[in-house]
Amino acid sequence: MLLKTYENIDSIGRAILGIKASGVHNKELAEIHYPNGEKALAQVIALDREHVTLQLFGGGFGVSTDCKVRFLGKPMQVGFSNDMLGRVYSGNGKPIDGGPELMADLVRVAGPSINPVKRLIPKEMIRTGVPMIDVFNTLVRSQKIPIFAKAGEPYNRLLANIATQTDADVIIIGGVGLKYDEYHYFKRRIEEAGSNSKTIMFVHTHRDSIVEGLMVPDLALAVGERFALQGKNVFVLLSDMTQWSDYLRQVANAQDQIPANQGYPGDLYSQLASRYEKAADIDGAGSLTILGVTTMDDVTHPVPDNTGYITEGQFYMKDGYLELFGSLSRLKQQVNERTRPDHRSIMNAMARLLSESEERVKAQKFGSVKDDYSLRLLDYRKTFQKELMDPFRFLELEEALDLCWDILSNHFKKEEVGLSSELIATYWPQKRDFQTLEGSTHE
């Protein structure tokens, strides 16, 4: 196929370029040739007769009206081979770790979704060692679930922990809008955990163009999907999808799209969904699990709000704790019946009591909490937070469940916890008969 070059550039924006050309395909890749011989990638995003709109991977800065545009006659693809393990790539798919470019099979990026009948119902628990996850919001293989947190919370540490403490065959890190030290942190943690040989990084830092940032999830997921089709259990970590949505907003704005909520394009939901829906447990192959990060101040902001409707729950991190309320694993019911007989019941009992204690916190502000039961509830709440909500405390599920029984028995009488007599007979700790834990702080 003869590659055509055009030079009549119409317009140059922050991330968008308009040019007159013919015979161009929607979503075709192109190269921008600068007068000084440098090249940058671009992709067609809209056609209107002879007007072609391109998205610039390198951004619009420095593009001149005498640049030439060469259409490459192929869509966006990414290399795929086992040799990619241990390597670091940028948002345009080029290695940035100083190593050589690989000869690899090319696979399509942002392809169609898997036929739902080829999906399995997720049934396998992933043990993370984090009590708030394993006990209360169990992570399940092929789940798509983000961490909701304010910027500044240690969400990347938790992400790295989960990826390295579990049994993933392949870890793919998609970093969007990372600060350099965050990138460095991921790299070091992966090396310390000895997981380097099963990890691939696609990294976009703040110095790179936003279009490259937009590409990162697609590249990471396309490669992850291929490993999953080979039978591997793949973890894709995406941090941070709020930044990604912001880039989406910038590009939509540059195209004069009519904004929906808070300037985000009307298709924000569909755009996020087509990425997160890549998570799947594939019948006859492996699985793809997506752990994301959605930074936010307020859960009703369009990005966490749309994300919550798409993902299978979220882990809500606040003040360094993993919160019970606000966190949710939609798939936990699929697995927590088969872990230990008391798992589901004690999870519900602990949550119900914590919810009751939240009521007392409100009441306490009015000075109306004086009775013994309410004071014990408040005390329980403190213990719960201290013992269970630390995301960096490692406990096996069974240890964590035992700890839950200890906490209950330290604060409540048997008939107050609403658990069946049968479970109480089996699990209620014998030795301690109703006493407050040491270090209790309520007066």
Binding site: H25, S113, I114, V117, G266, E277, G308
Partner: protein, 581 residues
Amino acid sequence: MSKSKGKVVSVNESLVGVETTDGAVINGEVAMIMIADGKRLKSEVIDVKEGGVVYLQVFEDTGWMKVGDEVMFTGLPLAVKLGPGILGSVTDGLQNPLYELAEKEWFLERGIEVSPLDTTTKWHFTPIVKKGDTLTGGIALGHVPEKLFQHHIFVPFSIKGDHTITHIVPEGDYTIAQTIAIIKDELGNMHELQMAFDWPVKKAMPFNERSVPESPMPTGIRIIDALFPIAFGGTACNPGPFGAGKTVLQHSLARHSQADIVIIAACGERAGEAVEVFKDFPELIDPRTGKSLMDRTFIVGNTSSMPVAAREASVYMATTVGEYYRKQGLNVLILADSTSRWAQALRETSGRKEEIPGPEAFPMYISTLISAFYDRAGVEILSDGNIGSLSIIGTVSPAGGNFDEPVTQATLLSTGAFWGLSRALSDARKYPAIDRIDSTSKYPPILKKEEAAYLLELLRDGKSIASNMLLMGEKGITDESYIRYQKAELLDAVFLQQNSFDKVDGVTGPERLRLMFTLVKEIIDAPVSIQGKEAIRSHFNFLRQAFLDWNYMALDDEKFEKQKSKLTTLVKQMGYVAENI
């Protein structure tokens, strides 16, 4: 009918501009776009603009399309194939059967065409008309058995005026592709009829005679059946923020509602949720029929990562199939999850068409479309005197959980029951998290009206006492108020809350609902003579525990009656003490 042609002039995601090269174009007709790799992409005319540019919304990914690609107009609107074989199947939003697609490709590659209904299956057809009979559209020619039902084979509804049968096949096995009858109109034109025919999805099927929804449809969900019921042929919506339990509620309704047929329209939602249904349902036995639940279910899924333009089609397709089975004299329930995603798809297209946006950038006409959609539900008196109904329960996913947004508001105006899901309730693990105070229904309840009012009054009292307690503490209110509060809490815990994951507690039939109500009422009416908040709380804790244990016992459980009398004794003990003081 003339078939026009055209060429692509612009491509913007799913919106494609076309200039016609010959022939006229009908708004709403289907067009096929031929792209370089030989694939034919299905699309629909949604607008004709000045200058003669025809705008198509494309139901597939438009990657690799180019200016100049050829377009063939079909002259026909988007239609659904109606006939035996729909029940038990799973299709995408354009009626492509997913299992058949999966045999060709693991991924939903574009441009793959599969017949919507199996053309090789033989159905045992029994004619009920004979040669020489006069009939018209909508009259049954005969029937075939389909799963649990006799499926009437109709003369296509589009046929108008008197026709005479010139040929009808004898009883026997036929496929939907074979001609089973030939009819002649008054001008002598012959029409060959098969067991399946097309109907345009966006055109509501006319009612033979419309009636009003008056008979409650048991759903097995206590809070709905007792307080906020839906009727056969009625409409309901359940808006709520994410995580408030919309999906679990929908699944529960799909399993336990006493409709004959359940159609699940998974519109722009997670694929995994549809998967749970179509992988689980074939294994589940419907206790009312003794057959697999899948036998009464039809799933149409345009999930969130499938092409956006087909979301709208998926909702309409489900509705059309529902109307068709209503014509069969059956009670059909459509669960549309989520109508907000459909509205968002309209918003995306509207934005690309550069229409002037309404509130939150939704198109101005959104409320009209929503009302027209819910209006397709209803009770129909058929020509043979039988009654069919179509009920619609639509999920709404309001942005930020805020019910003031345009889609929720338009839906509230169009539906008869409102089940508002609340995050506060779901955080407190009070499922189903349907707001006990703000939800409404205009349909007649399964309990008596005054009984429902009696429960609601207690709930309102409980809420107001709780807010007093927040300010003044337990010690700030009288024992009497505290007892009233505990009764409201008990009502909530043992009657309104329900564990949808439990076999027994997950579904409550009308008979058991009555039993439970009687017992709940007995508890509420009984005087309690205990003094002191601690002792009162402990008494109600015991009652709650005993009641919950009872909730988990099946009606035919040997312990069922024993547990019930244990409960009544517990209640009476306190009453006894009161009388003696």
